[in-house]
Every structure is written in structure tokens, then in C-alpha cells.
Amino acid sequence: MNISEKTINNYIILSIQGILNASSAPMLKSYVAGLPDTQSIVVDLENIEFLDSSGLGVLVGIARKKKTSNAVVKLARMNERVKKVFEITQAYTLFDIYDDVSAAAEA
């Protein structure tokens, strides 16, 4: 899994590429832990090839942490495989979800 970062408006955009599973999810958790708690972020999911429950759990954990810090985490560009996991678990109810990154960073 690769994570790349850029800034749009006041949001840090994290683009994740590859596999977000039980093996790689701790890497995303550590990466976000290195950002200020009050920093709002957009996670670009377009290039995720595979998401499992551990990857989902890390995203939910980030959302909880941001909520308590009065920051937000938004998700952008979910593909069908990722969407399926969010639909089954109802985790989509915890996030603002956008079709494109720019819209997420402007809202």
C-alpha cells in the first residue's frame, strides 16, 4: 500500500493505492496519527484494490478521533468493491462521501 499526500484548501488529501487489509492497515493508522488531531482530511479511495474489515476499522477509528477533535474525515471516489464493505456494515453513515476529491475539499 502507498499513501501520498497533498493539500487542497484546508484539507490534507490522502490518496491510498493498493491493498488496505489487516496487514497494511496499521500503516495508515500510524500515518494519520502523525498528523495533528485537529487537521481535517479527505481520503481518496479510488485506487484501493481491496479493503477488508481491518482497513474499514482503521478508517472508522480515524473518523472517531477526528470527531472528538472537532475535525472531519471525508471519503472520496469509492469504487464498487469498497462501497460494498461500507454498505454491508452501514459504515457509510459515519462519513461524508463524495464522488470527487475537489468537491470534498470545498464542502
Binding site: 477488508d52 473518523a63 472517531r64 456494515t89 452501514q90 459515519l94
Partner: protein
């Protein structure tokens, strides 16, 4: 049932991708019509979740921490067994309370939702989780009378 393939791996998450790729590739052989992607994803994800649980609940004192994955076919239906020597567990799981932002507890719930049939048995000192899913018959290849 006829055995297709058996994979025995050390209980280590470094091998998780091998498990999911194999499950997806075997499932592709049994997929039917327009639902190939959904069918393969269900096996890929369910077998990954089961393997992850087997790794996470392996006791440190266990000498041979291994997980065995067996693929079987029965009249065109693909069945997968995940076998480990971990302590017995309760395979019934309810939906996590999503409003409490849980970081875990989704794995078995996902498996139950993705697969048509999930069974758990304890034989001697082994846990055996059995999962089956029927490919959906689409209009193009359904039989009409």
C-alpha cells in the same frame, strides 16, 4: 465433495494477500454469468477475514501456528474450509453498533452477509469454518420452462 486445492500457511498476516488472491481465483472458476466480480469478491473477502481471525486468535504458546484452507467442489458449488488449532470460538455475530464507531468486530459479520451458508464445527482440537455461496443465475443463462 471433491478437493480442489489445499493451502497451509503460517499464521502470519504477511501471507494474507496470498490467501485472498487464491480465493478470488478459485471462485472465478465457479462464478456464473454477469456476477463474476461480486461472486469472486465475496470469496476473496470472506476467506481473508477468516484467515485474519485465525492469525489473530492463535495462541502464542501454540507450537505450530498454521492455518489450513481447503477448497472443495460439490455439484458445481464451491465450499471453503478454514481450519486452525485456536481455542474454540462463538461464530455467531451480530451487526456491530456502528454509531459507537467500533474499530473491530466486522469480520465474522461480513462473512455471514457475503456468503450464503456459514457453518462452524469443532473437531478434536481444531476449529473448522465452512463457507459456501451459490453463484446467482442471471436471465441470460437461467432455464425457462
Amino acid at each position: 465433495m471433491n478437493p480442489i486445492a489445499t493451502l497451509t500457511l503460517q499464521a502470519d498476516l504477511r501471507y494474507l494477500r496470498i490467501v485472498s488472491i487464491m480465493a478470488g481465483n478459485v471462485a472465478e472458476i465457479f462464478a456464473d454469468g454477469a456476477n463474476v466480480a461480486e461472486f469472486c469478491h465475496a470469496y476473496e473477502l470472506s476467506v481473508s477475514e477468516a484467515f485474519t481471525n485465525s492469525v489473530r486468535y492463535a495462541e502464542p504458546s501454540q507450537k505450530e501456528k498454521q492455518v489450513k484452507i481447503c477448497f472443495w467442489s460439490d455439484n458445481g458449488t464451491l465450499t471453503v474450509n478454514i481450519i486452525d488449532k485456536n481455542p474454540q470460538f462463538n461464530p455467531i455475530t451480530e451487526a456491530p453498533d456502528i454509531n459507537s464507531y467500533p474499530e473491530g468486530g466486522y469480520g465474522l459479520f461480513l462473512i455471514h452477509r457475503l456468503m450464503d451458508k456459514v457453518a462452524y464445527t469443532r473437531e478434536d482440537d481444531s476449529n473448522i469454518l465452512t463457507m459456501t455461496k451459490q453463484p446467482k443465475i442471471t436471465c441470460n443463462n437461467a432455464l425457462y420452462y
